[in-house]
């Protein structure tokens, strides 16, 4: 349970970090390291070089305005979760973050790191997808923005190029009158969820749209449009788009049942949130 040897650099600018990455095809970025270091220790990953971005100034900013929430690459989950402006402008970010691991992990882990780690069992990729967010990356030829649907290409695989660093993530603000909810079932609160779901409900009656995002219900974080689906059919309608698997923690059939239960639960809660939000 010890990492294999690797080189280590601690650049002081993003441009310098990008140069280090470009120079070594086996290099990886180290931000919070709460997912990366276990992979190193179990030798499931063996990079030749770690580029530690923790000393780059300014990357820990959390900026909130009426358009949404912009979270810098070094903003720790704990700092984002504690920010009252984040909670006000896009409450789904805070609702989901409360389920990300334990306080001790949240003190070190970064929200942007979690997004680009691209784990289908993680909470924040689903939130980025569901809210229509994006990730800003910097590479040798400058900066570009990757919209959430283009970010997730495979299990633990994002569309970032090897020499690109995610510098920030953007979550759009919750629209007036819209409602959100998040719920997950884990064996121990804070552990990886057996299944988790987030809902976003906008509009009323004929104009209502219902979208639900799922984690741990397939190889990729997945959002399903459930607009116009009868309440009793919600779970099965969602399952048509999902592929929950078997592992040592739960059977596929049990995960499917959790999808049914959680879908009803989050859609109901998001509608209630919308009612309450529309004062």
């Amino acid at each position: 349970m010890k990492p294999a040897p690797f080189g280590y650099r601690r650049p002081s600018t993003v441009a310098e970090a990008v140069r280090e990455l470009a120079a070594d095809s086996g290099a990886k970025v180290l931000a919070g390291g709460q997912s990366l270091i276990p992979l190193l220790s179990m030798r499931l990953a063996a990079p030749s070089l770690l580029v530690d971005i923790n000393e780059i100034p300014g990357l820990d900013a959390i900026e909130v305005d009426e358009r949404g929430v912009r979270i810098g690459a070094l903003a720790r989950h704990a700092a984002v979760l504690a920010d009252p402006d984040v909670r006000r402008v896009q409450p789904l970010v805070s609702l989901a973050l409360a389920n990300v691991a334990h306080a001790t992990i949240r003190n070190r882990g970064t929200t942007v790191g979690s997004l680009v780690h691209a784990d289908a069992a993680a909470e924040m990729p689903v939130v980025l997808l569901l809210t229509g967010g994006s990730v800003e990356v910097q590479g040798p030829s400058g900066r570009r923005t990757i919209a959430a649907p283009d970010l997730y290409v495979g299990p633990l695989e994002s569309s970032l190029a090897h020499d690109e660093i995610a510098v920030a993530a953007f979550f759009p603000a919750l629209a007036p009158g819209a409602g959100v909810a998040f719920s997950e079932i884990a064996r121990r609160h804070g552990d990886y969820a057996l299944v988790g779901a987030a809902a976003l409900v906008t509009g009323r009656g004929q104009d209502e749209t219902v979208r639900v995002g799922y984690l741990s219900a397939g190889d990729l974080p997945t959002v399903v449009d459930l607009t116009g689906v009868d309440e009793t059919e919600l779970g099965d309608a969602a399952l048509a788009h999902l592929d929950p698997g078997d592992d040592i923690h739960a059977t596929a059939a049990y995960r499917a049942q959790l999808v049914r239960v959680l879908t009803r639960r989050v859609v109901r809660a998001a509608r209630a949130h919308a009612e309450g939000a529309e004062r």
């Binding site: 280590y8 001790t104 070190r108 804070g190």
Partner: protein, 165 residues
């Protein structure tokens, strides 16, 4: 081929240690083997059990999920740094002793550091908050009941210490 060593200045419990470590040295191992403070315990080594929890700049962090090279120039507090210099137990340590909050003691350093920081943030937790505070730490012998009692007792001791001072 010998591995590159990095000179690192680790400030642990107020004392500065200069160590030379490979980049892959986990902070937990650096504390135990390079600094010689074996109070920090190594359990699962992948961030699940919490036995290795230390405070970095006051916040609880898994020392098995942090590299020693990344800990340079940060203030680290281990379980050895919780008692007063004269050996007087901290409120959390005293509460663990009073409430029988430990049996084999292996997980105890992680609980003590986690709860010390948790009570600093929330000095008088509800029963639920006390449970949540320790949710990231595993104990295989107490069944947690006495640890939760110890969190609540430590909060009481902390409050009466504050009132007395």
């Amino acid at each position: 081929m010998s591995e590159e060593l990095h000179p690192v200045r680790l400030t642990v419990n107020g004392v500065t240690h200069r160590v030379e470590v490979p980049a892959r040295r986990l902070l937990s191992d650096a504390l135990r083997h390079d600094v010689g403070l074996t109070g920090t315990h190594v359990g699962c080594e992948h961030g699940v059990c919490g036995a290795c929890t230390v405070l970095v700049d006051g916040d609880p962090v898994r020392s098995c999920l942090m590299l020693a090279v990344s800990a340079a120039d940060h203030e680290i507090t281990t379980v050895e740094g919780l008692a007063a210099p004269d050996g007087t137990l901290s409120p959390v340590q005293q509460a663990f002793a009073e409430c029988h909050g430990l049996q084999c003691g292996f997980c105890t350093p992680g609980f003590l550091t986690t709860i010390t920081a948790g009570l600093r943030e929330n000095p008088c937790p509800s029963h639920e908050q006390a449970r949540e505070m320790i949710a990231g730490n595993l104990c295989r012998c107490t069944g947690y009941q006495n640890i939760v009692k110890a969190v609540e007792r430590a909060a009481q001791i902390g409050a009466s210490d504050k009132a007395a001072s």
